[in-house]
């Protein structure tokens, strides 16, 4: 079930020496029969392993930064991660933060959205990566959770990679979802723009209510123009319907809100499309946030997506150095979508991601408070309610 995803599968898979015998490596290779598999003799940048024929350059020429990033989208490196797995989300300075913890089972994304910050963040290291030592990732989460049993951890895997985009190759959710289901104080958020949920549906009896599956969503106008290889809004909603039927709670992230002619109708339609099919009671949280990016992203977007209007928004450089829409525009958009969501259900748990305290005051009347519908997002204590499975997917 779900869409055909062969167009996002890599052309070349590089395998680092220490990863070659790992189970995840074997699984990925087995499921990519048409990919060119290359075993590396040493760690390093696989882009430098490409022949001039493969890069389209003559010997001695070098790929531009932008071309390197584009080339990296067709390459996948299977390797082991050697750093610290669990990190607090860096958030952004001078803005209200939701205390999410992050683990990255890989790096880079083949979905190639115009506004994706990875174009700047990973520009020197653009090859897509999957980490094969996932048992260590789970161990790190388990260790942290047991050290602070009274604390509630919300952990997300969707910061440097889409949480579901490779799941048809890796079955990673088959490892992490039951594991998180066994922990009393961890909520896992799988965040995606894809519809690859077959594994999640199969795990209906083991997620134990501890996994929230969330989708980044947008107005169709934005999704169709600037989210090149993602599942359509309808495909994402269909995937959400399937996981709700399998007893998961879901989340939606209206992020980034984009200012375009007809944005009000566009976002209203997106909210209506989602909640005409998804019961609001199955929603764990919804976030809203406006388009923002580092200044160098403007040039990158102009070069990589010359038809996009996103580099030419009504922005200014804010305190955290990112380009954001000027406040009256930003607040108008945030308020509009916020009110659309609240009109679906008054106590819908809606929060703003990386927004100023002024935004919270203006739109919510103040910062999120204990005991409100947002307690689960912002609290560091508590447990998730367990939803019963509501029927076959």
């Amino acid at each position: 079930m779900g869409r055909d995803r062969s167009h996002i599968h890599p052309d070349i898979v590089f395998v680092s020496p220490e990863a070659k015998d790992d189970a995840l490596t074997r699984r990925v290779i087995e499921r990519l029969p048409d990919a060119d598999i290359r075993y590396l003799s040493r760690d390093g940048d696989p882009l430098s392993e490409l022949s001039p024929d493969e890069t389209g350059l003559s010997s001695g020429q070098e790929l531009s930064e932008v071309d390197r990033f584009t080339a990296g989208k067709r390459l996948l490196l299977l390797t082991r991660y050697k750093g610290s797995w669990l990190k607090a989300c860096p958030g952004t300075s001078s803005h209200v933060c939701c205390n999410l913890w992050i683990v990255n089972p890989g790096e880079g994304c083949p979905l190639d959205c115009t506004y994706c910050y990875l174009q700047s963040y990973l520009k020197r290291n653009p090859t897509l990566k999957l980490y094969t030592n996932t048992a260590e990732l789970l161990e790190a989460i388990g260790e942290r959770a047991s050290q602070n049993p009274d604390r509630l951890y919300r952990v997300g895997t969707g910061e440097l990679i889409d949480s579901l985009v490779w799941d048809d190759l890796t079955d990673f959710t088959r490892e992490i979802v039951p594991f998180i289901g066994s922990l009393p104080n961890v909520i896992l958020e799988l965040k995606s723009k894809d519809d690859c949920v077959d594994n999640l549906v199969d795990l209906r009896d083991t997620h134990n209510g501890n996994t929230v599956v969330s989708w980044s969503v947008n107005a169709r106008e934005v999704s169709e123009k600037d989210e090149a290889a993602t599942a359509t809004l309808d495909e994402r909603i269909a995937a959400a319907e399937r996981v709700v039927a399998a007893g998961y709670r879901v989340g939606f992230h209206f992020d980034p809100l984009v200012f375009f002619d007809g944005w009000e109708e566009g976002y209203q339609e997106a909210v209506e499309s989602i909640f005409s099919r998804i019961p609001s009671t199955a929603v764990a949280w919804v976030s809203v946030s406006s388009l923002r990016y580092q200044p160098d992203m403007q040039r990158i977007m102009m070069e990589r997506f010359p038809d996009s209007s996103l580099p030419f928004g009504e922005q200014f450089q804010s305190k955290d150095s990112k380009l954001r829409y000027v406040q009256p525009i930003r607040f108008k958009m945030l308020r509009f979508v916020w009110e659309q969501l609240k009109s679906v259900r008054e106590d819908m748990p809606v929060y703003m991601c990386m927004e100023s305290s002024a935004a919270w005051r203006s739109i919510n009347g103040g910062a999120p408070v204990a005991g409100s519908e947002l307690a689960e997002v912002f609290t560091r204590r508590g447990r998730l309610p367990i939803l019963p499975s509501s029927g076959p997917a």
């Binding site: 030419f312 804010s318 406040q327 009256p328 607040f331 100023s356 005051r361």
Partner: protein
Amino acid sequence: MTASAHSQAGGTTSFSLEDFMSERRIEGVLRDRILKLDTKDQQALSSILEESHPSANTLRDILRLASEVAARDKISLAEVFTQESVSLLLGREGLSRKDKQRLIKKEMERLRYPERRRLEDRAQELCRELVKDTGLRMELPKDLEGGTIAVRVSERSPEGFAEIADKFNQLSQHPSCVSLFNLLNGVE
């Protein structure tokens, strides 16, 4: 491509882009960029430079803004520089070169950020109304970012300060004050 003489009015003048750049010490990337423009773009730019004589920094800003407008609207740089609003500015009598530099840059900002400029202009208009009606001068947050508006008060006597309470009361009920906060909060 040579930077030849040009006048937007149609006649040839003695203006030379290369001479202008040497005189204003426009060098490096900016100079290369200008010399790489195609003939029409260069001619349109020359008209602006001839009329306003901007510094390298102002020219860099004007060129960046105009290039972004051109890329966004899928038009040439020449089409940006020859928009009616720009031509009217260049032809306006009684304006100094400094005025023209400032107004051209402002016009490029308006073309690049039409909604932002509209909001900024509207905020200024509301501030002017408040000064006129209450005598109180508003200080808007930088870039319209943040939830507070400051008021600068200066008086020449203790009695003057005594009158301020009335002025603030008047201000708090003034429709333009409400509109100003609404504008900042994206309500209107």
